[in-house]
Amino acid sequence: MSDETKTGLNGFLDSQMTRRQFLKISGKSIAGLTVSATMLSLFGCTQEQVDSEQVVTWAMPQGLLVVNAAKCTGCKRCEINCSLFNDQECSSYISRVKISRNLHIHGKDGLLMGNFTYYPDTCRQCEIPACGEACPEKAILADDKGIKRVDNDKCIGCGACVEACPWHMPTINPETRKSSKCIACGACVLGCPTAALSIIPWDAVTAAAQEIVA
């Protein structure tokens, strides 16, 4: 079902509006929200996981990225698929999704801190990206879908984007001296063997949200 048809049918919610609503809560967990059973099912999570801050959502141009920490088993297939798809080589360091750095020691958590709390960090595809704002070459720009991409012709590998990102998600590839920043390609999601990472298309999120409204 296209956005247009849906708007016509309902006249209240469309994917753009859904995305805007989720953008408001991006950057926080969705704890505290009451999420409908349909939406929980769509997100592959439970209200209890939402309430205990296991689930974080990020509004991406093509859909809602749902990260469920409780489901992450630390296999690193997200990093593998990211680097194989985007860099044509296999690496952890330049992966745009990052689990390795969280696995063993992450604050008070991680395997070597004696617990099993670890999860993948992802690019948030911020509406106003700190990485892009900080880039002295204005090399990080939104494409026609709204995805912020690095223009490799402009990137000088200075690392300003890495520093500026509050989560240090971009990485300067030591060989190419270009910033590896997420382009929301979804390779990590497709390869996640527990669906700890998933992207729910806006159409589907909107349809689930309609139910709440109805």
Binding site: T73, R77, E89, H104, A195
Partner: protein, 708 residues
């Protein structure tokens, strides 16, 4: 020319002068990597009469072209060195999973050769091409969990670390190197490192593994995950019925134990149901293996947080538990291990166990305590011989007779009687600290049998605590009970337990026998696949299967791939008639390295490693015992294998006892397959020349043990 798969570099660490240099690693390409590379380096550089703890002894940590390439289940590392504990002190290896193997590749190295002895405890810090020797005085005496934590805190969270525990420091032969959480390499590597005052290793790498055909690597990986992979040990049908599956395990039990209604009950934010995991759905694969429930039944779910495991593997075989009853004893509650350390803690309790919180949870909680303690101390079990021998000492009059009375009375027996988890921790501590006569067990079955005068009969005896598959000091590891003569043959070949899962993965898969038989006979011909415990007499096709498995394991520890998962012999796909893909290993090699590997060429390169193992074993046995005959002195099989279950005859249904004459024929056929002299079991010159090992033939000839 660009190099794909391999990094092209190896690191040589000299602890005596604290130097680190790099060398070309491509000269070892014929040996694949990992085990093969390690064996060649040890042969070239360490005279086989070197004592394993001598400063001239070395160890080789090595990975292969597939490690860290993105291929599923490619996270393992091989460590080759001379054995401190098995008969002949010959070539041996430890294998470890976790994440450190791929990290070594990302740092730019195919291998690390470690030689010399440091003057004080150090750990190695490797950050790409920067290698430094860090003081480890503050870590000496600490367990592996704390050591790895401190090392990672000191180096940074991008580092992967591995440490030895007190067992390794105290030169206990049964010692490990531990990484991540519960992942370890055993076989005595802990004490080899301890003898060199090397407490641990930390590696960080910003590089990558270059692959020749990235699209193909991705395609093959997805193909493997959609069509070929099953559960843990690649069991290819689920344990319990699932709506999409034609078959499930007849017994209701196998290692594809995840099922609807089975949960990670202690997951953060509430229970997570394993649901169905249909063939073809990549995003559900990691719910297939629920190892805790496989090991302990549904009661395990109450303590399961999630499943973990190694880099790149979608089968998460390390159950990660939160066993809160352990808190009452001031023991860590977060525990995880997947193998032997998690299974035999009850052997320490002759008075039996008492449940903690749920009915039937006693064994699991005790094993939580024992596995964590064992991993922390860096103590190795020799595939269970440690637990068997402790049980023999603690629960039989004969065993007890070897412990002095004062020592016996010094044990905190009140803990044993109360089934207190601190008991097993304390007994393990004594072994790791070499306190008292019980610590003899930690020196190895051979040393124990010699010191306590147990004689050949100890290895021959029909007793469930005797699993020794040779007279060389190690037990069987999926032997005749799974695959008759085939399993027993490859169990005889190494200088430690064989670690080959080629056959057990098929026979225990849960698929109907006729389905697996059709697959195996399709690959290997008629008569190649017996029903478990319903063995038929030896034939040539079985010898071919044994050769395939023996060489294949060498490939997996060299490439590296996990042999618990590979080869993909079977498949969960009905559309494939449940037939796997034995060409897959070669397809991976071609896609990753860009070289035209075929199944034949991969098996040829793998067999080269088997030949090196055999040559080095022959030389060691010659040096140690003047042996000129491996058939007689290395491959001898204890009597229990043939004399067990006196009420049954070999080849009768229901027994895995073997027939002496038939096994002699099996050795004949197998030696012929391998190109070894039938009388001595030693490779002929023609065989060694064929594999480019003429120098080894010359060496054998110089020692007078090259077959005529």
């Amino acid at each position: 020319m660009a190099i794909y798969g391999w990094t092209g570099k190896l690191l040589r660490i000299n602890l005596t002068d604290l130097s680190a240099t790099t060398e070309d690693s491509m000269k070892y390409q014929d040996y694949i990597g990992g085990m093969g590379l390690g064996y060649r380096v040890i042969y070239d550089e360490v005279p086989l009469n070197t004592h394993p703890y001598d400063p001239a002894s070395k160890f080789v940590m090595a990975v292969g072209p597939l490690t860290g390439s993105g291929i599923p289940c490619s996270g393992r590392m091989n460590i080759a060195f001379l054995s401190s504990w098995s008969k002949g002190h010959s070539i041996i290896d430890a294998h470890m999973g976790g994440h450190i193997g791929p990290k070594m590749k990302y740092a730019g190295y195919d291998a690390m050769i470690v030689e010399g002895v440091a003057s004080k405890p150090v750990y190695l810090k490797i950050q790409d091409d920067q290698v430094t020797f860090e003081d480890a005085s503050h870590l000496w005496g600490k367990g592996t969990f704390e050591s790895n934590q401190v090392i990672t805190e000191e180096c940074g969270r991008d580092f992967e670390s591995a440490s030895i525990g007190q067992a390794g420091e105290n030169l206990v032969n049964y010692s490990t190197l531990n990484t991540s959480f519960g992942n370890s390499g055993g076989a005595g590597i802990g004490a080899i490192m301890g003898s060199k005052k090397l407490k641990g290793i930390a590696i960080s790498g910003t590089g990558s593994v270059k692959v020749a055909d990235p699209a193909k690597v991705k395609e093959l990986s997805d193909y493997m995950m959609r069509e070929l992979i099953g559960g843990n040990n690649n069991h290819n049908v689920p344990a319990l019925p699932q709506s999409w599956a034609e078959y499930s395990a007849a017994s209701g039990k196998n290692r594809w134990s995840g099922a609807p209604g089975r949960e990670w009950k202690k997951a953060a934010g509430g229970p997570i149901d394993m649901g169905e995991q249909p063939c073809g759905d990549i995003n559900k694969i990691a719910y297939r293996c629920l190892k805790g429930v496989f090991d302990y039944g549904d009661v395990a779910s109450n303590y399961i947080v999630k499943q973990g495991g190694c880099s790149s593997c979608p089968i998460r075989c390390y159950t990660q538990y939160d066993m809160e009853p352990l808190a009452e004893y001031d023991l860590p509650t977060h525990v995880s291990n997947t193998c032997m350390p998690m299974l035999y803690g009850q052997n320490f309790y002759p008075s039996g166990l008492i449940d903690f919180k749920y009915e039937g949870d006693a064994k699991m909680i005790i094993n939580g305590a024992s596995s964590h303690a064992q991993d922390d101390l860096g103590l190795w079990c020799n595939y269970g011989n440690l637990y068997r021998e402790v049980k023999w000492v603690l629960s039989t009059e004969e065993g007890k007779s070897h412990i002095p009375e004062a020592e016996w009375n010094s044990y905190p027996w009140e803990w044993e009687k109360a089934a207190d988890p601190r008991w097993v921790v304390e007994i393990m501590r004594r072994i790791a600290y070499k306190e008292g006569e019980i610590a003899v067990i930690g020196e190895g079955t051979i040393a124990m049998a010699e010191k306590w005068g147990l004689g050949k009969e100890y290895f021959d005896s029909i007793d469930s605590l005797n699993q020794n598959v040779t007279y060389n000091g190690y037990p069987k590891h999926h032997s005749a009970e799974d695959s008759g003569q085939i399993g027993l043959l490859f169990n005889l070949m190494y200088n430690r337990d064989c670690m080959i899962h080629h056959l057990t993965n098929v026979t225990n898969s849960g698929a109907p026998y006729e389905v697996s038989k059709a697959t195996m006979e399709g690959f290997f011909g008629k008569g190649s696949y017996d029903k478990m415990k319903s063995c038929t007499p030896m034939n040539r096709n079985k010898a071919k299967v044994a050769r395939w498995a023996f060489n294949g394991k060498q490939f997996h520890d060299s490439a590296t791939l996990c042999n618990w998962m590979y080869p993909m012999t079977q498949s969960p796909s009905k559309a494939r008639n449940y037939v796997g893909d034995l060409e897959l290993d070669a397809k991976y090699m071609a896609a990753v390295t860009g070289k035209d590997y075929t199944r034949e060429s991969v098996e040829f390169d793998s067999e080269r490693i088997s030949q090196m193992l055999r040559v080095m074993t022959a030389i060691s046995f010659n040096i140690q015992f003047g042996s000129t005959n491996l058939r007689q002195d290395h491959d001898g099989m204890p009597a229990w294998i043939f004399d067990k279950q006196p009420e049954l005859r070999a080849f009768e249904e229901g027994t895995d006892k073997m027939d002496r004459e038939d096994m002699e024929l099996a050795l004949d056929y197998f030696y012929e397959e391998m190109g070894w002299d039938k009388a001595t079991g030693i490779p002929t010159r023609a065989t060694l020349v064929k594999y480019g090992l003429a120098d080894m033939a010359d060496d054998l000839a110089g020692r007078g043990i090259l077959p005529n």
